[in-house]
Structures are given as C-alpha cells and as structure tokens.
Symmetry: C2
Subunit: 232 residues, 2 copies
C-alpha cells in the first residue's frame, strides 16, 4: 500500500452517524471519534499487510476523512503506529492473563508452560499484530515509566512464576534470569520465525505450527525441569 499502484479506493458512503431528524446528513463536519476510528483502521491495515501497509492517508480514507485530518490527533505516522502498537500489546496481555487465570494454581512450572503456550498461540493467530508489538520501534522509548507497561507486566509475571517454580524445587538451574531470558528467546524466536516466513510449509492451516510450537515448548520445559528422566 505504501508505494504501489492502487485503485482510487471507491470512497466509502459517508458512514451514517447520527440520523439527523430529517436532513440527509451527508457527512457531519465533525467526525465524532476519529482518533479511535483511525486506530482501528490502522489495526486493520496492519492485519492485512503488516506495519508497512499502514499509511496515514489510507487510514484517513477508510475513516472517510481528508488526508490532513489524522494529524490533528497524531503528530506523525509514528505516533499513530505507537497507539496501534499499544492497543495490540494490551490485547496480547489480556489474552495471556486470561489463559493463565484458568491454569492450575499449585503447579508453577505448569503455569509457566501455560503462559508460553498462550503466548505462542496468540502470536500465531495474530501474526501481524505480534509483529508490531515485537518490533519495539513503534514504542516511544522516551516516555517515563517504561513505555509499554503491559510488556513489563508480562515479564514480571513470567519471572514470578519461575521464582515459584524454583521455590518448589521444580527447576534444575538456580539462575532464574537466564532461564527466563532463554524461555523468552525461545517463544519469541519461534513466533517471529513463523511470521518472518521461515516455515513456508505451514500455509494458513497452522495445525502443524501449533503442534510444533507445543512440542518445542515442552522440550524446553523438560530441559529446565529437575529430574527430567529417570521416573517419567
């Protein structure tokens, strides 16, 4: 979308907000909630063609608004992408926490596995959205208090879960930091490889992908668990 030929976009028929007693209400001068609509449009564009497919003008077009209008709400394209990325990150975190809420409470290592699985599943179901939250370039690194609060929350969650697992003697290594980074690298890497096209065989079906994701996660968990063989 960003520099390719494209039909003139067919002009949406002026969204029917506020039926307006009698006049045809062709298009109210003020949009209503343009900011929200722009973010949604951009999210959709990301879903269709990745981050590069997002253009301010196309988002404006889909919102039925002039090309300059978005700049009233976002000082730059990056600012729009920032908002989009934060929204995606929010959804990501919400889904993972929801999945974890259903996991058994008294098996930390099992909970850790559950966390990783939810991570992988979301990333594979929403590849382009994962792409924008994983590439930190869309987050504002100047803001105080850590840009994406949601991301820090997730990391904390993983760390606490690992600490519990260690406290219950479920881990072989005491270097929790390394284990945490390795675990993150594993799921991150698998998710990104999937997005970046390193597994061309898995078309859209993704059943193989999900099975493999689970398998390598288990391989990792077994690798860090205490007494890996012998009994089981």
């Amino acid at each position: 979308m960003r520099s390719s030929a494209k039909p003139p976009s067919a002009k949406l028929p002026a969204r029917p907000r506020r039926p307006a007693a009698r006049a045809p209400a062709p298009k109210p001068y003020h949009h209503g909630d343009l900011r929200r609509v722009l973010i949604d449009a951009a999210l959709q564009l990301v879903g269709e063609g990745g981050p590069d497919a997002v253009s301010v003008r196309e988002a404006a077009r889909r919102a039925g608004v002039s090309p300059g209008a978005p700049f009233r709400h976002f000082p730059s394209r990056d600012a729009l992408m920032n908002a989009v990325a934060e929204e995606a990150q929010r959804r990501f975190r919400a889904e993972i926490e929801a999945a974890l809420a259903e996991a058994p409470a008294n098996n930390p290592l099992g909970r850790f596995r559950c966390l990783g699985l939810a991570y992988l599943r979301w990333a594979m179901k929403n590849p382009t959205h994962f792409e924008i939250i994983s590439s930190r370039r869309f987050f504002d690194h100047d803001k105080t208090a850590g840009v994406s609060q949601d991301n820090a929350e997730l990391i904390d969650l993983a760390e606490r879960t690992l600490a519990e697992a260690f406290a219950q003697g479920q881990l072989r290594s005491a270097d929790l930091k390394q284990v945490q980074i390795a675990g993150r690298a594993l799921v991150y890497g698998f998710a990104r490889m999937n997005i970046d096209g390193h597994f061309p065989r898995w078309g859209v079906a993704g059943a193989d992908a999900e099975r493999t994701a689970e398998a390598i996660l288990d391989l990792f968990i077994e690798g860090i668990a205490k007494v890996p063989s012998k009994s089981a």
Copy 2:
C-alpha cells in the same frame, strides 16, 4: 532517510577510474560496475539505519549516478534489497562455516554449540544485516531451487551435526527435528530480541550481551544433552 530532511549529499568527487591520458575525466558516462556499487551502498545504508533506510535514490546518490540509473540493474527496489539480502546471507554463512572449521571434529554436540555461538556473535555484530536476512520478505520466494541456497546449507549443517551427536549418544531426545527447530528458535529469538530492542540495557558495549548469549546457549545445550548432571 526515507522521508526526512537531509543535506544534499556533498557529491562524491567523481571516482577516478581510468585516469584518461590527459583530460580531467570528470565523470565517465558509464560507471564501470554500478550494480556492485549499488549493492554496497545499500548494504551501507542498511548498516546505518536498517532496511527502511534504504532508498533507491540515496543509493544512486552515493554511487554518483542519476536517480533512474539503478533501474537499469534492478527492476524494483525489492530486487535491490533482494541482492543485498543475498549478499548478507552469503557473508553470514561464510563466517559460520569458518568458525565451525576450527571446532574439534569429534564432539558433535560441541560443534553444535560452536555453530550456535558463531550464529549469535555474527548476529550481534551485524544487527541490521542480520535483520534483512532474517526477515525473509527480501528473498524471492518464486525462484526455483529455494531462494537462499546459503540458508538451506546452514540448516543442513545444523541437522547433520545434530544427527552425529545423536549417533554418539549425546542427545536425550530422539526427535532431532524438534531439537533443531527449538535450537534455531532460541538463537533466532535472542538475536532478534537484541535487534528489536528488548534489551535496552546493553548499549553499544555488548559485552553483557555476548556473555548472556553464551549462557542461554549453554543452558539449552545442557537441556538437550544426555546425563546433564550426575557427572559434570
């Protein structure tokens, strides 16, 4: 570079090819090896600001050539990026194979570790170049015989090494495919997290980064090795 103000590029002083008996040879009409120079310029641009920092015009500017000239050698920007990515992939493979050539021959698992380490080191020393080879979008997926021969070679190499390790009883799992994918995901993930800015603490120094890289690699190797504790 792709849409920001920039000084007019200072105009290189007409590269002195072929001193030309006596005339000042201000600029030969034909460049000599524009294709090569364009790829180098683009590689440099990638090194300076990542893939998005590459513009055909800027590459042309640095080659001291008109904006349309590159299109004689590359039908599109993507084609240029393709060439750039293949060049980077070639260097990547060369360095890894060189490192592996110095590894002890009769310890497959050790060789596997060495491979992973070389991978991580190159990725961390050439982050932006790793970025373009990891994102497969710059490779031509239509070409027969697999686009990046070099990449397939590397994967084969890893698989053979793992098979040897298994044959010598060094591995705990017999599912070599899973082990290979997990290993790839681990190093890939770590490298990309580093590039994508998930480890903001490691400024440019990178000593911490390299140590951590080695640590998580060892953690993984221990996890897949047979008899992980007990003796060592």
